[in-house]
């Protein structure tokens, strides 16, 4: 555990990619094989199942530290991280242990069948033996949410360097349904063949276009499509089985029963990249509709009728059982079009390409984005291969400008993690007559310096406190940007926004100049 805690500290102490890779490689070199694969699993968000609820952990730590519960809760709201709060309030351990990471993971797993009393005894035993960072890491293993600024791509780099295997090969091997309980480091990282027939390909992600579109050069070298506002997904048919993956590497096959049709539509050995999108009468529905599907445990036939979901395909990654990511986009696209043409079915929609020969034509087409319920345009170089991870050069997203509205800040809440103890989450209101009606929350978009300034202002201009929330004098005006607007019965204002964030602080505007609820309703009528 000490070695892993040290790795964690080293990763936490730097923001530089090279230092992180160095730390990971030297850890992989000395770690026991079993610790090595658990580390890979943890850093790719595959932690062991939670065997103790966070609530119990908090209560037990509070008891052991001899504190009242309210004081623990106040501390938690300042620290912003449960695992850290617990390790800080606990008394120093009586002895120091030096068990391995794998020992502690197995320890946590072994708690599962136990009674609450037994679990409590076990956890206290662990807290007796672990101090400092070790204790924090142990708590984190239970509560999850291990954020150490190591992206999948960064870990792939480090692992490729350590194992002397190509990055794209490693990236692929790490995808899908594996767990350290059922596979070993050798099988996962060093073995050619995979037993896992569900394994998806790493998604290729685009950066936002910087500068002008003209800088991309000759327009005829580029393919353009609408940029859809759904969930990025991969549909795979192998050995007569269907697998649907979301970008978050979550297997979501069961959530979309309509996709069963793919078993008829796609031959074995096919993988398509595309967008999971609610779709009716030849047009996508808003993301708000999709949200009604995402959250549900059981999908009723009523819901299936109201919000039918299609797969808007834009790429082929596997064809006749072979990995075709190295084919040029044009070739992959031909295969995709042929596939969609032979067996037309409402669940398989082809993401249409946009005809254009000059950048101005495309610019004009982009102005119609909202009519297609799209967020803008995707540009892909015609001769590009399908790469992995977020990379510059061949794929760009060219999004449309967001909607904006000027709003008044009325509540502030402190953030979590990096932003704990700072008021960073704000609730905004617009005018309805002489009343301010809250309509959205937003917690990003300001610079660190602005956040500190607002934080100070909040602390000095609080009118009331309820737990972590402060209501403040309605004095600050911010421009709020958002991607979409929809009707909502859950919100007092009657509207829900898509991706609201703070566009800028309007220090130049007085509170009276903020927008009104009618302005929002007008947007809803035109674009909702």
């Amino acid at each position: 555990m000490k070695r892993f805690a040290q790795l964690f500290t080293e990763l936490d102490q730097t923001t530089k990619t090279l230092d992180k890779i160095k730390a990971l490689v030297s850890y992989f070199e000395v770690a026991a094989t079993q610790d090595r694969i658990w580390t890979i699993a943890i850093l790719s968000h595959r932690r062991p199942r939670r065997t103790v609820s966070a609530g119990y952990l908090g209560t037990w730590a509070t008891e052991r530290a001899g504190l009242p519960m309210w004081l623990f809760e106040e501390s938690y709201s300042v620290v912003g991280d449960l695992a850290e709060t617990i390790s800080l309030v606990l008394p120093e351990p009586d002895e120091r242990s030096d068990e391995t990471l794998t020992f502690w993971i197995n320890f946590i797993k072994s708690l599962e069948p136990m009674s609450i009393e037994e679990k409590k005894e076990k956890i206290n035993w662990a807290w007796h033996r672990l101090g400092g960072v070790d204790r924090f890491v142990f708590n984190k293993l239970i509560t999850g949410g291990f954020r150490v600024g190591v992206s999948q791509q960064l870990m792939v780099k480090a692992l490729a360097k350590y194992a002397r295997v190509k990055e794209n090969v490693i990236a692929h091997r790490l995808m899908g349904n594996w767990s350290p309980e059922t596979t070993t480091y050798e099988t996962l990282v060093l073995t050619e063949d995979t037993q896992d027939i569900s394994r998806p390909y790493p998604f290729y992600l685009a950066y936002a276009l910087e500068g002008t579109v003209e800088e991309l050069g000759d327009p005829t070298e580029w393919q353009a499509e609408r940029k859809w506002d759904g969930i990025r997904g991969q549909v795979i048919v192998r050995n007569g089985e269907l697998f649907v993956w979301s970008r978050g590497e979550e297997l979501v096959t069961d959530k979309y029963p309509e996709y069963a049709a793919f078993l008829e539509l796609l031959p074995n050995g096919t993988a398509l990249d595309g967008e999971i999108l609610p779709f009716r009468d030849g047009l996508p529905l808003s993301f708000n509709h999709l949200q009604t599907r995402i959250g549900r445990k059981s999908i009723t036939s009523k819901l299936l009728q109201e919000v039918p979901v299609a797969f808007v395909a834009y790429d082929v990654l596997e064809w006749e059982g072979a990995d075709v990511r190295s084919w040029p986009l044009t070739t992959r696209r031909e295969k995709l079009e042929a596939l969609a043409a032979t067996k037309p079915h409402p669940v398989l929609q082809l993401s249409p390409t946009i005809n254009f020969s000059t950048w101005d034509q495309l610019r004009e087409a982009r102005t119609h984005s909202r009519e297609y319920r799209s967020e803008g345009i995707m540009l892909k170089r015609k001769d590009s291969i399908y790469r992995d991870g977020r990379r510059r050069g061949d794929w760009w997203k060219w999004k449309i400008d967001p909607f904006t509205i000027d709003a008044v800040m009325i509540y502030a809440m402190s953030g979590h993690g990096r932003r704990a103890n700072l008021y960073t989450d704000y609730t905004f209101a617009v005018w309805s007559g002489d009343q301010l009606v809250p309509f959205t929350k937003a917690y990003s978009g300001l610079t660190d310096e602005e956040i500190r300034e607002v934080d100070r202002w909040v602390k000095q201009n609080t009118t009331e406190r309820f737990g972590p929330v402060r209501s403040v004098k309605p004095e600050l005006v911010f421009e709020i940007a958002f991607e979409g607007i929809a009707k909502s019965t859950r919100h007092k204002s009657g509207i829900a926004l898509r991706f609201p964030r703070i566009h800028r602080w309007r220090k130049d505007k007085a509170v009276a100049e903020a927008n009104t609820l009618q302005d929002l309703q007008q947007l809803l009528n035109t674009h909702g």
Partner: protein, 342 residues
Amino acid sequence: MNLLEFTAKGIYCPAADVYLDPWQPVKKALITHGHSDHARWGHEQYLCTTPAEPIIKHRLQLTDNIQSVAFGETVMINGVQFSFHPAGHIPGSAQIRVELNGEVWVFSGDYKLQHDGLSEPFEPVRCHAFITESTFGLPVYSWPSQADVFDEVNRWWRKSQEEGKVAVLAGYALGKSQRILKNVDATLGKIMVHGAIETVTNIFREQGMILPPTVRVLPEMKRADFEGALVICPPSAIGSPWLRKFEPFSLGIASGWMGLRGTRRRRGADRGFVLSDHADWRELNQAVRETGAEKVFVTHGYSEIFARWLTEHGLDAREVKTQYEGELSEMAEATEDKALEA
């Protein structure tokens, strides 16, 4: 009428007609220490401890309207007894004891119990009513020993040297910087300081404080002049163009706030060293206990929370709103350092 009252101008003693660390201009002010949220401009008369005087005089550009007394010496003002007692916060910092007709109140300003090797160690003063800060008044704040922290600082300095980086360490110009100078292993290399820090450090040196030699960072210096050096700068220098000349460097911050991972990451420092001139949770509780006070007034920090905690432990504790900032200003950009540079 209470012996001390909380007014819009600051903490007031009506019987003596004087203020303690007031934030608005008054006729007579008793000052605990030289940090800008406690020693402010514009009072007609100032009274502080002898070791705190030179800094306050310099900072506020005072000439003859400041007087000082030794620690423990009693001053009578309109029949009220005042005396200053070490607060252990920074060199010369004091708690102010006020006594009238056998009733004793103590205003502690800012304080810490841990010995820093530099400040006059905190002295518990028995009283009926105690006014305490609560900058770090939460059980999550628990300071490591100073020796451990400086071991870490020394290791980091050596590692930076090995990697060809300048070790830049940010800490308050008044107090924290000298504490670093006093305790860091000065044999490791050259110690260089920002101008604001050099000014304060020299004032302390003139008072007889023994500190390792320092070199002031000057605009015309080149990167080679900083090779292998430890550079101490005020927190306000973080993110400023002034830092660029040290590239490549490793940035460390010395502050109690570095005890939390969130703050450490937010400040974008390479290293956070948990080094505070304020009392941690345990010290706050110990200090309150040792005064024997039944009445406790909790000022700046987690005042509401600490007051509630003390109330649950049978004390008559209340939260008081003041304009003191404690180590808060260290996080929200150090206003004091800007003042010092002026």
